[in-house]
């Protein structure tokens, strides 16, 4: 067994401090009793958490982001499952190009996508609608869904499908009762990754979101660009806590390293 030296462990501790310090600082500032950015040295207060409810813009943006994430992830899964089946199971002309097409948003800077969607949506007159925002998000989350669904279709044992067919099941029954349940973990992992990507997306959304369809990251960015106050720290703290809860749930259900390393 190889061991880490003292030096290595010191390096590791500094790394962990570096990684967590900004998050800890945000969470500390959120509890300040003062009206300005400061550490809660003179007592803890929840006033800035209460204050969130006096700013309906944040609440509305949160729900927008939630609906948007669910819609984009679900539509991308609906498009990805049949496409992944076609790509993995058939060899046909243009298959590589199709894979390239579906994964291409990974190569395109999000700002470029934002610029492109802004011109396109305003040209065809749907700029500012929630549907336009959903469509844009489907494009950016598709590579993540696609990769995980393709991996699960690729890794699937097809003998169960053959057995179902030889026992007289129709293609549709086989798909519904055998194929879908067997690739479900991959589809669910892709959906989760798509949802979190959509929920946190800022660089593209900032071009496409209108005041009525503002998402949480855009709302937070606009707030920070204007002023940095304890309110934004408390909103961030709520977000950090929700993310950690989500992560614990994800780890229990799925194994978090599996989902995230799939992302890299």
């Amino acid at each position: 067994m190889l061991h880490n030296s003292k030096l290595a462990l010191t390096f590791h501790s500094l790394f962990v401090v570096f990684l967590l310090a900004p998050l800890v600082v945000v969470m500390l500032v959120a509890f300040t009793p003062n009206g300005y950015i400061s550490y809660p040295t003179n007592g803890f207060s929840l006033r800035w958490f209460v204050a969130i409810f006096e700013y309906p813009a944040f609440i509305r943006a949160f729900w927008n982001s939630l609906y948007l994430g669910v819609a984009a992830a679900s539509i991308s899964a609906l498009l990805a499952v049949p496409a992944a089946l076609a790509i993995v199971r058939y060899s046909f002309r243009g298959r590589d190009a199709l894979v390239g097409l579906f994964l291409s948003p990974l190569m395109i800077p999000h700002v470029v996508l934002g610029v492109a969607f802004l011109s396109f949506f305003s040209q065809i007159g749907i700029y500012g609608s929630f549907w336009a925002l959903i469509a844009a998000h489907v494009i950016i989350v598709m590579p993540y869904t696609m990769r995980l669904v393709m991996a699960s279709v690729f890794g699937m044992d097809r003998s169960a499908e053959k057995a179902a067919l030889s026992l007289g099941a129709s293609q549709w029954t086989m798909f519904r009762r055998i194929t879908i349940p067997m690739i479900l973990p991959g589809v669910a992992g892709g959906w989760i990754l798509a949802f979190t990507t959509s929920f946190d997306e800022l660089s593209m959304t900032i071009f496409v979101a209108s005041p009525s369809t503002t998402t949480l990251p855009v709302q937070m960015y606009n707030h920070i660009a204007h002023t940095v106050d304890p309110l934004i720290a408390s909103v961030s703290t709520v977000l950090i806590v929700l993310t950690v809860l989500f992560m614990v749930l994800l780890d229990r259900l799925y194994g978090i390293d599996k989902v995230l390393i799939g992302k890299g």
Partner: protein
């Protein structure tokens, strides 16, 4: 991207006649992508050839003036130079920090290993805006860094104010992107056979030599793909440079944003975006080529 395609098995049904099934299955996604990704990109390309007049607005003409300006003007030179020098600095720092950390993690025992792996990966799921806000609070005018520097007597507290500086932007970007480097190197380390390391040690090599001569060469692909991801993402980063760099330190992404939403010079913004896109694609493609050639050589 290429890894996945090349690992796909050749199909089971290999008929000579054209089978419509795969086309029908992939049609919804393909049509969606061609309409909603292809059209906007083509439109942006066309827009970048148009010109802009401050009194009339967008003039649909065809010319290369915007590209001339982006590639010739010293103002844009500075922006692109800044963007890529920041990205290179971020990549180097991510290698210096991320590679040893991934190695240390891989030598830990459970439960510590899983715990710290989650600690390293968790920030990836937390919004970039939140993580950048943390840095604003740390390195801002009245931040903790300044107070810390003053307390230990190294410098005055104003030295801790890194807002609107290159150092500040680089620091925050490293924080945002280093987990991706750790993941990438971690994945490469999983394929490493510890017996080779033991052999090196038993033959009298020091830990440093083993790391340099045995471990590094084997995880090089992981380091390279990590560097590629980190480079591409920091070159196109928006939130962190916008919040920490502000107006004073514009990078390509924030410059495109300003042209679009403040100056309203869409053709110029489109030209900046196309240059950024082409640069990104060239870097990714040449990297893929390089890796393919490397693979071919090692496979004989």
């Amino acid at each position: 991207m290429t890894e996945l395609t090349s690992s796909l098995s050749p199909s089971m049904s290999r008929t000579r006649t054209i089978n419509p099934v795969p086309w029908l299955l992939s049609a919804p996604g393909a049509i969606f992508f061609l309409a909603l990704l292809g059209m906007p990109l083509i439109m942006t390309l066309i827009l970048s050839f148009n010109s802009f007049d401050y009194s009339i607005g967008i003039v649909s003409s065809f010319g290369l003036e915007n590209y001339y300006e982006v590639l010739r003007d010293s103002y844009f030179h500075e922006i692109f130079l800044r963007t890529y020098s920041i990205s290179i600095a971020v990549v180097i720092l991510c290698i210096i920090i991320g590679v040893p950390e991934a190695y240390i993690l891989s030598r830990m025992r459970n439960p510590w290993r899983s715990l710290f792996l989650v600690v390293t990966l968790a920030p990836l799921l937390i919004s970039v805006v939140v993580r950048t806000l943390g840095w604003v609070l740390l390195i801002g005018g009245n931040g903790l860094l300044g107070k810390f520097l003053e307390a230990i007597g190294i410098a005055e507290s104003s030295a801790g104010n890194l807002m609107y500086t290159h150092t500040g932007v680089i620091l925050a970007l490293v924080h945002v992107l280093v987990p991706l480097m750790v993941i990438s190197v971690w994945a490469a380390l999983q394929k490493l056979d510890p017996a080779v390391e033991h052999a090196g040690l038993s033959l009298g090599a020091s830990h440093g030599t083993v790391f340099r001569r045995v471990v590094i060469p084997q995880i090089l692909p992981g380091i390279l793909s990590g560097s590629l991801i980190v480079f591409a993402l920091s070159a196109s980063a928006f939130a962190t440079p916008a919040i920490i760099g502000g107006r004073r330190l514009k990078v390509a992404a924030t410059a495109a944003y300003d042209e679009y939403l403040n100056t309203m010079n869409w053709p110029m913004g489109a030209a900046i975006a196309i240059v950024l896109l082409v640069a990104n694609v060239v870097v990714v493609m040449s990297y893929n080529r390089m890796m393919e050639r490397r693979f071919r050589r090692t496979l004989g």
